[in-house]
Symmetry: C2
Subunit: 526 residues, 2 copies
């Protein structure tokens, strides 16, 4: 039986966008020092096998916010609305009169069609809240969105002297080209230039300011805050001095399989052939040019997180706040001949995850690392558990990390992790001549094996024991049919275990088993 603890009062759920697990010093990066994030790891637990439910922004984030796998929440790609019936962290909190506040990115696409179909005006307050993931918005900022549409950042920039219709495009992702003109930050070739925005007005600084103001204004009132940075996500342009902190020779090895031995999967080949980012990141000069900027953007986040930690310490909030630090997915950064994310290599699907529980019950694990498989669906139940709220297991598919934080791994803890992809929107689909329903894949990763089941192609299989960098695909190797069959059995069991009956909670089911006879029905009685 788990111990009963005094619930925590606050939650600070920090997310970076596209932050690779190994680009932090506490996770072993040799040159990129991130002392603030390392300090969180020192005070809490660093999870070394944390995985996202899809290595793509929207499906991954919707799993973080709902505690449900991608196939359960249905938002399978970046342009796909989260079905309005999906229950989010904000909904769970609203049941007990609390609120989840947001400073930064969620990438929730509102399911307006569903609400209109039910006859609700789309601008009704409740619908607005629910359509946007249930977050009370201090400032929602998804990055590359039309100025003024969602965020106050454009007006903030104008107030600080960055004039124009679209100050983000003109200053935040623009550099000086050295000839009096503007260098476009969308283009990787310009990644070495300093952004035209001053560091204290950059996205990371701005959003940290929003969070700090909120926490300060709350005083002793309890709060739940999602501080969600857009960085180090593209466009890759950093403000000074972060643009120049690292150089190409700092950017480490680039993982590349031996083409004669790699046995490249058809979808991998399609990505490499059809996608701009893979064509660019397939070049070593490009990788050496952009990784230093990526590192600078991570370093900048770390510096601002120091401000957050300082405030929590100064205000006494550290002692009653659960802190979660993570990312929505990683970035291949040229490894495997890939840019961006999407495929299931560790660089994309594995994330940093640090959880700090300040209660004495978690003292034993401070500064330790856990090798347990944990998943983004575990965040909602962990938050509910920390706040002393019920877990809603009829909809939430993850598990609270509380026992792991207290140093106990439950005997029935998962021994595999699952992630999904739907690449129907991508050029690779056309390249492969597929229909839009045929672009799905599901990953099963166990201690030793990573298996990826593709709807329309042979599977991928990597032996992580003998090939930890996933450079040799054994997906059709005759020696491993037994392994693949075992992985398909795991996949089958997982698929059958999804939460389907979400409109009735477990207690109601149990009660109906007891009381159905009570209302005059006699079924099959002689």
């Amino acid at each position: 039986m788990p111990q009963t603890h005094t619930p925590l009062r606050n939650v600070l759920f920090i997310m970076c966008d596209q932050l690779r697990w190994d680009y932090l010093s506490c996770y072993g990066h040799p040159l990129l020092h991130t002392p603030a994030i390392d300090e969180l790891a020192r005070r809490g637990v660093r999870f070394d096998r944390a995985y996202v439910q899809s290595p793509v922004c929207v499906p991954s984030r919707m799993s973080f916010y709902t505690g449900r796998y991608m196939r359960s929440h249905g938002a399978t790609w970046n342009h796909v609305p989260l079905p309005s019936g999906q229950i989010t962290l904000g909904d769970h909190l609203a049941r007990v009169g609390r609120e989840a506040k947001l400073a930064g990115k969620t990438h929730v696409i509102p399911d307006i069609a569903s609400v209109e179909r039910l006859g609700l005006p789309r601008d009704a307050a409740d619908a607005q809240l629910r359509l946007h993931g249930g977050f009370g918005e201090l400032d929602r900022y998804d990055g590359h969105s039309p100025p003024g549409k969602e965020s106050g950042y454009a007006d903030y920039l104008r107030t600080h002297g960055y004039d124009g219709r679209d100050p983000w495009t003109d200053f935040v992702i623009a550099g000086d080209d050295g000839r009096g003109g503007t260098a476009n930050g969308w283009l990787l070739r310009n990644a070495h230039l300093p952004a035209r925005v001053r560091e204290e007005h950059s996205e990371t600084a701005y959003m940290t300011d929003r969070a700090l103001s909120f926490i300060e204004a709350q005083g002793d009132r309890p709060w739940v805050l999602h501080l969600s940075y857009i960085k180090p996500h593209w466009p890759l342009m950093a403000p000074a001095p972060y643009h120049a902190m690292y150089r190409g020779h700092d950017s480490g090895p680039i993982l590349k399989g031996d083409p004669s031995n790699e046995n490249a999967h058809p979808v991998l080949e399609a990505y490499r052939a059809a996608h701009d980012d893979c064509l660019s990141y397939g070049r070593e000069d490009v990788v050496r040019h952009v990784r230093p900027t990526y590192m600078g953007l991570v370093k900048q986040v770390d510096d601002h997180l120091k401000r957050v930690i300082d405030l929590l310490d100064r205000s006494g909030r550290f002692k009653d706040t659960l802190i979660i630090f993570t990312a929505d997915h990683g970035d291949h950064l040229g490894d495997h001949g890939l840019g961006e994310k999407e495929l299931f290599y560790e660089e994309a699907v594995r994330i940093p995850l640090i959880v700090v529980d300040p209660r004495a019950s978690a003292d034993a694990t401070r500064g330790s690392a856990s090798g347990a498989f944990v998943e983004s669906v575990d965040i909602v139940p962990t938050i509910l558990d920390a706040l002393g709220l019920p877990a809603a297991p009829h909809v939430v598919e993850g598990r609270s990390l509380a026992p792991l934080l207290e140093g106990t791994t439950p005997a029935d803890w998962r021994d595999a992790t699952f992630s999904e992809l739907d690449f129907a929107f991508r050029d690779a689909r056309k390249h492969l001549g597929l229909d839009v329903e045929d672009c799905t894949a599901t990953m099963v990763r166990t201690e030793r094996w990573k298996y990826v089941h593709w709807k329309c192609f042979r599977p991928q299989l990597f032996d992580l024991q003998n090939d930890p960098h996933e450079l040799v695909d054994l997906g059709d190797h005759p020696d491993h049919e037994g392994v693949r069959a075992a992985m398909r059995e795991r996949l089958l069991a997982w698929l059958l275990d999804r939460r389907v009956r979400t409109t009735v909670d477990h207690d109601t089911v149990r009660r109906r088993t007891e009381d159905w006879r009570g209302n005059g029905l006699f079924i099959g009685v002689w």
Copy 2:
């Protein structure tokens, strides 16, 4: 390429509740003559391998109304609301300004919590419509519901002299006990008595009247009508003369496995031990007592369907109306030591299905039988196809039966059928000591084999070639591991093929693949 036809104008979608496929003369019943339904079979196609997606009212009906499997629509049992985001036949018709009308039972449980969560008053007209499955209700009548709550039947009865607070209980499911008292129709022992309601005021007569009035009133205006009889569903009490048309010796063989050879599955044993209906129907005297009444109730439906066919012929509507006749599931009626439905024996999961397409393109198949596997999810796409409307394949999981009606079985037509069960609400769960998430089962039926995968127990396996009555369970027989593995592979492929991305249609996905570069984003461009 399918031919292009003139769309039909009307649809008459007739459903019986709990009508076993083999209790009709056109399906081979030796004593129960059903000339009206036989006439439909003579004019259309009789499907000899039609299956429901769950042998339970609500989950089966929600599959009929959404064209989606149980795990896709989420209403897994009789008390489970249909999630408000599920798109129904009525929604598909509403897109083009048409309406699905209802006379009878739907058993849709409204997802009120979801609508209230979005801030909509539950009595708003659009929400009411959507929450009740999208049917415009001539009269919704689910049977055993509080008088006056849903249906006009109670008032109708009062108008015709059946006085009282609950005339259904007092007259429709009540008989005279021969001693001046009332015999309760809920009790099987009273199944031989005539109901106290006159035949012309019985449920079947009343609902037929509603349908005929509607069709007549429509005149030449196009319509889609779901005529959904509650009968021959319990309570088993028929009005005269149908109560006495058959006798115990007419009630046929009772299927019973040899206990020493049956290898009864733990869930089967739990049903037999823990459920009233199985305890009753396990007795031959009970079966012989109730089957004649069940037969009478079927016979009554058939007589009223003659009125419907006559009106269609007389009014000229037959020539422009697609007619579907089917049932939501069958009834074990004592076979296998079971009452009712739920388990996956052919008596429960297989249904009668007759489809009449009056167009010349279907002339070649009139009066024929099809052995293709067809499913209840095929009804929505068949209706949309007949009306010339698009199929919405991003949500609808079934296929139009049109090619089968025209005599062509597509090369990629399914060679297996799937059905699901969630018995968490049932006493069998307690009997087996299971938690409410552990009560799921999935059936795969191929030409030769029926495999049932249970989450917490060994599978069931029946060899339909050598054991067509499913009397010997090979679920753990060592000779058949290869068959079971092959069936699990089919199950895996089917699970992975479910429609998950339902908030974006296929054309939008295809368009986004083409146009995403258009709005100023350059991802990964050097």
